[in-house]
């Protein structure tokens, strides 16, 4: 089931993350394997609760110890296995070699520290720069993310900035140490569309200049179509489909991917006579709770192709070609 590609920057094998709840362990990420190639943008897509954010937190080893843990699998980065590395090694990697942008820029910035200091912090810690050097680079970073008047802005606090500017500051913090992997967890969901367009463009541009690989987590298939190179679709903790964005959008193999793509209203649907208002193809039912351990395929109850086999055993992810894989008993190859 492995995909034959040149050495990836980040290789995840059979990663499972569980949370400890009074009702027993809940498996939020289930045997996930994934590769992030150099300088590519991989989009991790799925609905709320499918485990995409937990995957990101697991990679950074940010799952709170008392609440959950990585129970199996490995995360290969450089020559280390991040799943078992010590906390002190992780601290040297976070924000330095792998960094992360969160969804809500206001809650992830420190409200009582100036944005300049927040950017220079990682430079001082990881690159051992003097505070003067760090401040200078912080100002350059602000200019790089296109904040006007960076020297003055560096001395301001997050509440003095707009939402779009805060997200730019987050990006500046994340890219200050020129990481090899950037994890962006719904970076534009909290932003307006015109600002979203600016931020996405910025991430793509900086990706080229800093030479970093991007793992973009989103639920918005529009964003995927615009910026992604490869897409991995998750459902109920498992990866159900993976492939180049163009191919997956053209011909989704998994019925869930197909359903998702069909169910979103399309632009350009209105004609001269008015809006189409036609029936959108629905995926019946709702997203299952991961608390209910399912036997068989988690999508079976909502799937129009479901057969008795689907209710009994869960399909493995099977490679269909060099770069495509799907986990389904009845993939759509028409």
């Amino acid at each position: 089931m492995s995909l034959q590609l040149p050495a990836p920057v980040l290789r995840i094998d059979g990663l499972s993350t569980e949370f400890f709840t009074p009702g027993g362990n809940v498996c939020a990420v289930n045997k996930l394997s994934m590769r992030l190639q150099q300088k590519e943008t991989l989009c991790l897509v799925g609905e709320s609760g499918c485990g995409k954010s937990v995957t990101a937190l697991s990679l950074m080893r940010l799952i709170p110890e008392k609440q959950g843990a990585i129970t199996s699998g490995s995360i290969h980065f450089e020559d280390k296995d991040l799943a078992v590395e010590s906390e002190s090694t992780m601290r040297r990697i976070r924000g330095n070699k792998i960094s992360m942008i969160f969804q809500e820029p206001m809650t992830s910035l420190n409200p009582v520290i100036t944005v300049g200091d927040q950017i220079s912090e990682s430079l001082r810690i990881h690159k051992k720069l003097s505070s003067r050097q760090a401040t200078k680079i912080a100002t350059d970073m602000l200019a790089l993310v296109r904040i006007a008047d960076p020297a003055r802005r560096a001395l301001e606090y997050p509440h003095q900035l707009s939402g779009g500017m805060r997200q730019r500051v987050m990006i500046a913090i994340a890219l200050a140490c020129e990481p090899s992997v950037l994890i962006a967890d719904e970076p534009t969901t909290a932003l307006d569309v015109t600002i979203q367009a600016q931020i996405l463009e910025l991430i793509l541009e900086l990706k080229e200049s800093v030479k970093t690989s991007v793992l973009l987590i989103t639920h918005d298939l529009g964003v995927v179509a615009e910026v992604g190179q490869r897409i991995a679709v998750m459902y109920a903790g498992r990866k159900v489909e993976e492939g180049p964005v163009n191919d997956v959008f053209d011909q989704p193999f998994h019925p869930y991917t197909q359903g998702l793509l069909e169910s979103i209203p399309r632009r350009g649907s209105s004609s001269k006579v008015g809006p189409s208002r036609g029936q959108l193809p629905e995926i019946p039912g709702f997203v299952p709770s991961i608390r209910e351990a399912s036997v068989g395929c988690a999508f079976a109850t909502r799937c129009k192709k479901a057969s008795p086999q689907c209710g009994v055993s869960a399909p493995e992810l099977v490679a269909q070609s060099d770069d495509r894989a799907v986990a389904c008993w009845h993939p759509n190859f028409d």
Binding site: V193, I195, Q198, D220, E226, I264, G268, P275, L280, E282
Partner: protein, 324 residues
């Protein structure tokens, strides 16, 4: 036109925020500034715009959940903008609201039955067996099982809760439903279910929808007409197909251009709009959009363009368009 369910004229809603003690001047958020629109029976008018443009405030002010600063709101020909709360009570049954967050807008301690029957018992005295029958009919109408009548909101999924919210709104057989981002809190795979349901109910019951959304693909799918708002003003009001095929206002163009499309193969060259939305407290002079507009002229900084009709049922507020 006779079949207009709601007519809003020059509606304003300002929120005063700070008063200078010496000069007695008041700073205010101009959330809704002189908006005019109407919605016919069986028609969907969509309000679109970015956060802070006043679309939600406009929706709430139309229902008089917020008191308008000035302007008139005619519900079926009757001006409700100045009625007392008591007089308004009689008219409220004709206009209902569906909220964005189906988790926050349903009382967690009430059963589905109490949630849906509350509006009914508020206005009518109905014997309990008939009431229960009505609740069951309503549940079935929105695609829920009639036997889920004793369930609490937490026993429903997000999409089902939004159906419950719709059933509550439909209970009094209203003419107007104001829906504030009704599908944006839902998972992508269940959004289509709720959109289909809303279209079906509208066709069956001849409902008028005021549909507030930031999702342009949803708007294009469901809306008959669209009003684009920017900083409290309507900058363009047009039939959906006209707006999406040939937006006239530079802001509408930028908004349509910025929205990502779930379509591959066609890599568009985007004109990304620079800068942020200015503060609604301290708005730019003249045309509010001139600070970000690629076509701004000197005139735009001083004169505020009026919303003028360029065609039947098509209105634009822009100096460029006025030149035609």
């Amino acid at each position: 036109m006779a079949d207009e369910v709601i007519e809003v004229n020059d509606l304003k809603k300002y929120f005063p925020i700070q008063r200078n003690f010496f000069t007695k001047t008041t700073l205010a958020v101009h959330a809704v500034d002189n908006i005019t629109f109407s919605i016919r029976e069986g028609e969907t008018l969509c309000l679109v715009g970015e956060s802070g443009c006043g679309k939600s405030t406009a929706a709430r002010t139309v229902l008089r959940l917020l008191e308008p600063t000035s302007g008139t709101i005619k519900l079926k020909g009757k001006d409700i903008s100045t009625l007392s709360q008591q007089q308004l009570w009689h008219h409220r049954q004709h206009m209902q609201m569906v909220f964005q967050d189906p988790y926050a807008s349903l009382n967690p301690r009430l059963t589905a039955e109490s949630i849906i029957s509350e509006p009914l018992t508020n206005y009518f005295r109905i014997p309990s067996d008939r009431l229960r029958e009505q609740v069951r009919t309503l549940l079935e109408k929105v695609g829920l099982r009639a036997d889920s009548i004793q369930k609490f909101p937490h026993e429903f999924s997000g999409g089902q809760r939004q159906r419950l919210g719709l059933a509550r709104a439909l209970a009094l057989n209203p003419s107007l439903i104001v829906a504030d981002e009704p599908v944006s809190a839902l998972d992508v795979s269940v959004q289509a279910q709720v959109i289909n349901l809303m279209v079906k109910l509208q066709d069956e019951m001849k409902l008028a929808y005021l549909f507030v959304s930031h999702d342009l693909a949803v708007v294009e799918h469901i809306g008959h007409r669209v009003a684009v708002m920017y900083l409290g003003r309507i900058v363009e009001l047009a039939a959906t197909a006209d707006l999406f095929n040939s937006p006239l206002h530079p802001y509408s163009q930028a908004l349509l251009d910025a929205a990502p499309e779930a379509k591959v193969g066609v890599k568009r060259v985007r004109k990304v709009l620079q800068g942020d939305v200015p503060s609604p407290i301290n708005r730019p002079s003249g045309c509010h959009f001139h600070t970000r507009c690629p076509h701004a002229m000197p005139k735009c900084q001083t004169d505020s363009p009026a919303l003028i009709a360029v065609d039947d049922d098509r209105w634009v507020a822009c100096h460029l368009v006025a030149h035609f």
